[in-house]
Each structure stands twice: as C-alpha cells, then as structure tokens.
Amino acid sequence: MSPLPAGDPPVYAARNYLNTPATGLRSWLTTLDHKRIGVMFLVATLVAFALGGVFALLIRIELLTPGPTIMDAMTYNRIFTLHGVVMIFLFMIPAIPSGFGNFLLPIMLGARDVAFPRLNLLSFYLYLAGAAIALWGMIHGGADTGWTFYTPYSTTTTTKVVPILLGAFVVGFSSILTGLNFIVTTHTLRAPGITWSKLPLFVWSIYATSVIQILATPVLGMTLLLVAIEHAFGWGIFDPARGGDPVLFQHFFWFYSHPAVYIMILPAMAVMSEVVCAFSRKNIFGYKAVAYSSLGIAFVGFFTWGHHLFTSGQSPYDAGVFGVLTMFVGIFTAIKIFNWVATLYRGSISFKTPFLYFLGFLFFLFFGGMTGVALATVSLDVHWQDTYFVVAHFHFIMVGSTIMAFLAALHYWWPKLTGRLYSERWGLVGAVLIISGFVFTFLPQFLLGNEGMPRRYFAYPARYQALNVASSAGASVLAIGFSVVLVYLLVALRHGPVAGSNPWGSRGYEWETSSPPPLENFEVVPAFERGPHEYHDLPAAAPGAGEGRHA
C-alpha cells in the first residue's frame, strides 16, 4: 500500500489504456476494455448533452417574449419534447453510470474488467442504435408529446412518436445491460480485501442505481412499446375511446420514470461522497448511513410514483400514502446532506474545482429536495403541479445536482482519465459562471410557478415576462460557462501539465494505480488493507504532495 506520492515529479504512465493495445479508431470501436467503453460513453453522452443544451437555449430564447419570438407553436412543442427526451434518455441516465461508472467501478473493486465485457460493448452499441433511431425520428418531424408521452395525446398525434419511443426502448436495454453488469461485477469481482464494508461509496450508489435500472426499465420498455403499438395499430390499451384507461399509462410510466429520477441522482451522490472526502482529506462521517441510504432511496423510490398523479382524480387515500412515502425519500437525502456537512468538521478543506461543484451541488440538492418534499404535502402540489415550479424543482435536482456532480466527476477524475491536469484558475471561472448561471436560470422559474405559469406554454400572459427574461439571461450565462469548461478541458487534453498518479492526494482505490491506468488496471493489485475513505493514518510528512505542476 503506497502512501501519498512524496515529492517525486509527477509521471505520465507510458503504458496505459489509451495506447494499449493500439491507438487507432478501430481498436476503440471493437474494444472490450471497460475504461475505453466508459470514455466512449462519456463522449457520446456529452454530444447528447450539447444537443439537448441547444434545444434548451432555443426554448429560453423563444420564451423571451409573451408571443412568438423565433418559432411557431408546433416547432416549440417539438423542441421542448426533444430537449426532454435527449437530456433524460441520452444524457442523464447513461452519463454517470455508463460513463464514469464503467471507467471507475472495476478499478475501485480491484478488478481487471467488468464481469461481461462483450455485454458491455453491446450496451454501448445499443445506446448508439437507440440514439440513432430517435435521431432519425427527430430529423423526420420529431414528436410533440413532451418526454412524458401522456396518452391519449401521444397515441393520436400525427408526429413521429413511434421512432422516438422505439429509440428510448432500445436505449433502455442498454441501461439494463449496464446495470446487470455492474451488479454481477460488484458481487463477484471484488479483489481480496475489499469487503462490503470497505466498498467505496461510489460503488454503493452505483450499485443501488443498477438495481433500479434492472427492475424499473423493463416496465418502461413495455409501456413505451404499448404506446407505440397503440399509435401504430389502435389496439386500444390506453385509448379511452376504445375502453382503455389513459391514467393506467401514467401509473406505468411513473413506475419507471420516478425511480429513473433516482437513476439520475444516485450516481451524482456517488460522485459527491468521493469528492467531499478527497478534498476535505477526511474519512466520511457515517459510512454506513451514507451507503445504506442509497439502497433506501432505491427501495422507497419504487413506491412513490403516485405523487405525479395527485390531480388526476386519484383517490385521496392513494394520495396520502404516496405523499408520506415520498417524504421518506427526502429523509434518505437529508441523511446524506447532514453526513457530508459533518464530514467537513475538522477536515483540511481544499477549494479545488471539484469541491466548488460540491458546494453548488449541496445548495441545489438541498433546495431541490426541500421543494420536492413540499410538493409531497399534496395540497401545495395541487397549485404547483404542471407549473414552472415543478420545472424548477426537477431542474434543481437534475441539472443543479446531477450536472454539478457530472462536472465535479469530470474534473476530479480528469487526471485519471487523461493523465493531465486542467487549469485550476479557469476551473474556478467555469464553476462560478455555471453555478451562478444556474441560479439565475431556475430561481425565477420557482417564482413563475408560484405565480401560476403552467409548463409547456409557448405563449404566456405578459405579467410573466420579467421573470422569463431573467431566466433566459441566466441560461445564457450557463451556456458561456459550459463553453469555458469545454475549451479549457480540451486545451488540457493536449497541453495540460502531467498529473501523476494521484494529484489530489486522494485515498480512493482508483488512485492506487497510475494515471492513465494501464490496460489491466493495476500493474500489481494492491492488498487493499484500509478503507477507501480513510485519511487519519496518512504518513507523517508529505511535502508538496499531489500538487502537480501548473501551467
């Protein structure tokens, strides 16, 4: 077990997964290496993120004025649908689990690969295939149903709903295979010494995510398929004109899609548990509480879907049960927030870029979570349901928390992925722009929701304009922030200083190997005698450790 790297100049691992066994495009596309598959997932999901981001900007520009601004209502309806579909199915759900999870999970377990490498590659190609089918549908007209595909509108609209549904269906199988792979890997490929109580918290959360992916996604797949069949052939499953029940669709849809929200947020929590330890140089406060609360969220998350149906004529008894159960998800999240803050106590806190994103994350998760609990009080939900309040709430969770975590992960593991460091100064600029841009974009939307502006509105009464302009202004700051990050990371790819194996002085298992890691992950598999979040037994002096050389 090596201590912190002590003063030696950082070394770029000469033999690493980026150059072995080969460097050509072909060697990437046919690779079975989980690290390369993870990187390919990251690149693909980032492209999806850029596409979804462009859609988001178009929405915000359109909403600058109460009437039509740059497009007509039909185009607007398609664009917000595609924004939702692309962001959720092509970015949020696969980004952290399939991207960072693939790269890190086997290394954190001391394994050489995931349990089923071929299945892993298949998962990537299923993602590409699903994305391609959905993209085909978007180019040939798109859909105007909203990403929730509520029947009977989705089964009667004349737009290209079917390819988009099928695309999401195929991407769902990619998600199932990844989840299956991770669960089996965690159970069977842990290196000797890594017991369940020494599992990195990242792995715990990704494991909980995988459970949701496996159990919920098939139901979504079937539901989307039923809508596609209904749309194409009129079999009457959700069509009230043929005796079908449109609300049954909502139950099926949210049975998956509510847990899917936890597919998006649990990996974010996974990242942050790692980041908070590494940058406060301190053991996690309440390891068990943080680990088990992930499983708790995964479990309770399956029994809260009815809170999307409070205004659908559901019986008050159902509403009560779903409301209370939703509060429990809030509790599990609260446990994590308290434990993260407590971890800072008597730590040694370093304000590097990933930690800045952790602070943003904490802020957005807190307010996103609290507004979620407020929505579960039922009577308030009646006012907020389907208004911009709900939009702001889930963007606080999904964008605010998950994208903060994604960016934190990108910065924290950037040296691990590429072997190079980015510029901390520009990192600070990017983080400040993104976090403040985010607040400016979505805080006004809470107020818009309070004021009663419904979501998915192409035109709106003039009294809502001021807040909409504020929100659009925030979105432009957000866009500048993302561009800054993109530029300095690309620069760092080529010109960044060499990071060395462990630039942060982190104790996570993945930092025990060189950066970038070799093909087989570890030259010599360590003994894993200590936990992945233990900092109290650092060797006595480590001058200048882990600073890297700055440009």
Binding site: A111, R112, D113, A115, F116, P117, L119, I176, L180, N181, I183, V184, T185, H187, T188, L189, I214, L215, A216, T217, P218, V219, G221, M222, T223, L226, I229, E230, F233, G234, W235, G236, I237, D239, R242, G243, G244, D245, L248, F252
Partner: protein, 207 residues
C-alpha cells in the same frame, strides 16, 4: 486453468458464479417485462369483469391445457439434459435438448392453430375486434391476450434458438462434466419461458 476462463476471472467457479448471477438478474428483468402486461390485464379484468370472464370462457381451455403439459414436459427434458451434461454425456444432452426444441415447436404449432381460430371468429385486438362481446371489454381482452401470448411466443422462439445453439455445441463436444454453464443457463431461460406460461395459462384461460 480451464480454457473457458476469461482473463479477468480468477477461476472457473468464480466465472460460473458470475454467469449464473447475471442470468438470474436477466430473468428478473424478463419477469418485470411480463409483469407490466399482467398488471394491465389485472386492471382491465377489474374494470370489465363480465366481458373478460365471457371472453376467457370462449377460449379453448383444453388446447391451453395440452400446451401447458407440453411445456412442462419440455422443461423436464431440459433438466434431464443438464443432468446428463454434469456426467459428461454431452451427446445425450444434445439429444434431449433437441427433444425440448421439438416440444417447443409443437407448442407454437398449437398456438398458431389457436390464433387461426381467433382470426376466423373476428377475435382480434382493439379496433379490429368483430367478435360477439358487446362493449370495449372483449376487444381489450383480446388486445391483452395477443400481447401476452404473442410476447410469450417470441420468448419460446428465442428459447428454442438458444437451446439449438447449445445443443449443437454439445454435440460437437464444446462442454464437459467440468464446464457446462451454458447448458445450465440455456436451461434456466427455458424454465423461465415455461414458468411464465404457468402464470399465463390460469390468468387467461381459467379464471
């Protein structure tokens, strides 16, 4: 070390353990896929109780019964095949798997006969329904009937393909008494296909 061990597993047992766990998880997703349809069936059965029991009474229960027997028998032959494989008698395994595939084909043939019968009587899903039951209930019953039995039939086909691949490899001697996990997993899949039918039969034909 056995040649079937992949580079990232320390031993054959470890690899077999991973494969079995993976298969069980996969089967869980399959069950959830059907669960959505069963749930829809339950909801509509509750909403259209009379129409559903009338439509259900109209099905040929004896055909469903015979098909149940056939599938249970095929599961039995698969289990015997696995037993033979554990003793290293893989040619015998291949034969038994072949028999199971044959039984699967008979199942599908009977199902096709039944479908033909439905088509002739206008018992089609949704808007195509021209059968005798008034209201939406009859049409919805047949929507779900075709969805559930159709999805199951697709699974039977996939199962037969998997069994065929494994049987051919058995015949060629790819497995031995030490390593025959694929036989086991293909068998598990076939048992699942059987098990789902065990749920479908009472749900659709008997209740």
């Amino acid at each position: 070390m056995h040649s079937a061990v992949a580079h990232h597993f320390e031993s054959l047992e470890k690899q077999a353990e991973a494969q079995r766990l993976g298969m069980w998880l996969f089967l869980a997703t399959e069950i959830l896929l059907f669960t959505a349809l069963f749930a829809a069936y339950g909801v509509y059965r509750f909403l259209y109780t009379a129409a559903f029991s009338e439509a259900s009474r109209g099905l040929e229960t004896w055909l469903g019964g015979v098909n149940t027997l056939i599938l249970v028998t095929s599961s039995f032959t698969v289990a015997m095949g696995l037993d033979a494989a554990t003793r290293g008698r893989t040619r015998r395994t291949a034969g038994l798997l072949g028999l199971s595939i044959l039984l699967g084909a008979v199942f599908l043939a009977l199902k096709a006969f039944e479908y033909h019968h439905h088509f002739a009587h206008g018992e089609l899903p949704g808007r195509y329904y021209t059968g005798p039951i008034a209201g939406s209930g009859g049409a919805l019953f047949f929507t779900l009937y075709f969805l559930i039995t159709g999805l199951h039939a697709i699974h039977v086909l996939i199962g037969m393909t998997v069994l065929a691949v494994v049987a051919v490899r058995c015949w060629r001697g790819a497995y031995d008494a030490e390593y025959h996990v694929p036989v086991e997993l293909a068998g598990l899949y076939w048992h699942l296909v059987d098990l789902i039918w065990i749920f479908v039969f009472p749900l659709v034909y008997l209740i």
